[in-house]
């Protein structure tokens, strides 16, 4: 009711929201939601088999073999899925769940990728980019496909 109170309480709530999110979710930026065939999450020196329900983190690289496919849901509600013989680097992902703003930079090194963009791309036309070996995509939303075949 009183404006000072309003601002004070709102500030506390807005301040707490991301804090809860961060505490609960650590380094995760999304989650694996579908896996078939040979599929890995490369994290630093580790090459982890992809398992549905496992987290993905910034700078992970998703790799699939000749029969592999992987689907990921990100914390900004973006959705990626990649087909066989693919390599997807999740180079940069920052997201503030209170303001719904952030940045998302990924690279498709080879293979196929299906994308549905989420809150980050909605925030600004510069916020989400996908690179291939020969091009840069500016994502204004929402659904598109990318193939890289440079052999």
């Amino acid at each position: 009711m009183r404006t000072e109170w309003k601002i004070f309480v709102a500030a506390i709530i807005v301040g707490l929201l991301p804090a809860f999110g961060v505490a609960a979710k650590s380094d995760r930026i999304g989650q694996l939601r579908s896996v078939s065939g040979e599929a890995f999450v490369v994290r630093g020196d580790a090459r982890l088999p992809a398992v549905v329900g496992n987290d993905v983190q910034q700078q992970d690289v998703i790799e699939t073999g000749k029969d592999g496919a992987v689907g990921i849901t990100f914390d900004d509600n973006s959705v990626f899925s990649t087909g066989p013989d693919s390599n997807v680097s999740l180079d940069e992902f920052t997201f503030n769940p209170s303001t719904l703003k952030g940045s998302f930079l990924a690279k498709l090194g080879k293979g196929t990728l299906s994308v549905i963009s989420g809150d980050i791309a909605r925030g600004s036309p510069e916020a989400m980019k996908i690179r291939t070996p020969s091009a840069i995509l500016g994502v204004r939303g929402t659904r598109f496909l990318v193939r890289v075949d440079e052999k």
């Binding site: 009711m1 109170w5 309003k6 309480v9 709102a10 709530i13 929201l17 809860f20 999110g21 609960a24 989650q31 694996l32 939601r33 579908s34 078939s36 549905v52 329900g53 496919a69 992987v70 689907g71 990921i72 849901t73 509600n77 959705v79 899925s81 990649t82 087909g83 066989p84 693919s86 196929t112 990728l113 299906s114 549905i116 963009s117 989420g118 291939t132 070996p133 020969s134 091009a135 840069i136 995509l137 500016g138 994502v139 204004r140 939303g141 929402t142 659904r143 598109f144 496909l145 990318v146 193939r147 890289v148 075949d149 440079e150």
Partner: protein
């Protein structure tokens, strides 16, 4: 005779060379825009650093040529299925937002939203893995502190109902935003049924 054979040989050699150097129809990089699940089409720009192509209609596509140039290219549904079938099959169910509305000054759903609750539950059950965010809201009638509490009660009521149906409580986050995040902007002390809501984000 000899000349004809040489000529024939040259023609075959030429054809072989042409096929070896032929520009693949869909380039070495390919981008295709599709409508989303609601039929809406967004936009993607594709640039090689010099040229930029804007794709903003269904099946609009751009390729990168072997000469590293971005240009528009015509594609069909058949190309999409042929190249992207496996990637599209692997696509997780897109996140979905539901709005459930409440009876004034209570944490009871309106009759219609009571039915809509089943849509939320059905959506969660279709997912291989899930996370749910439940955020309660009120309209601007009443004290702010009271409304903050009421918004949390509303969110908790939805959480409890999901949990009673077998949804994992650990995968549900509950927030209350009182009267600070109105769906319909109103003046203070204003009764607005569309603001008395819980937003459920299922992902």
């Amino acid at each position: 005779m000899f000349n004809r054979q040489v000529f024939k040989g040259l023609v075959i050699l030429g054809a072989l060379l042409a096929s070896a150097c032929a520009e693949p129809r869909l380039g070495k990089n390919l981008v295709i825009v599709l409508p989303d699940e609601n039929g809406k089409v967004g936009a993607v720009t594709v640039t090689d650093g010099k040229n930029e192509v804007l794709l903003d209609s269904a099946l609009a596509a751009a390729k990168v040529t072997t000469g590293n140039k971005v240009e528009s290219v015509a594609v069909t549904d058949k190309d999409v299925d042929g190249i992207f079938a496996r990637a599209l099959e692997a696509q997780p169910r897109p996140p979905k937002r539901f709005r459930l509305y409440f009876i004034r000054d209570s944490d009871d759903l309106t009759e219609e939203s009571d039915k809509d609750f089943e849509l939320v539950f059905a959506d969660v059950k279709k997912r291989s893995a899930y996370e749910i965010q439940v955020t309660g809201h009120t309209d601007t009638t009443g004290e702010e502190t009271y409304n903050a509490e009421l918004s949390i009660q509303r969110a908790e009521a939805i959480r409890d109902r999901l949990v009673s149906r077998g949804i994992d409580a650990a995968l549900i986050e509950v927030y209350g935003r009182g009267e600070w995040d109105l769906f319909i902007r109103t003046k203070d002390e204003f009764t607005e049924p569309r603001n008395r809501r819980v937003e459920v984000m299922v992902r």
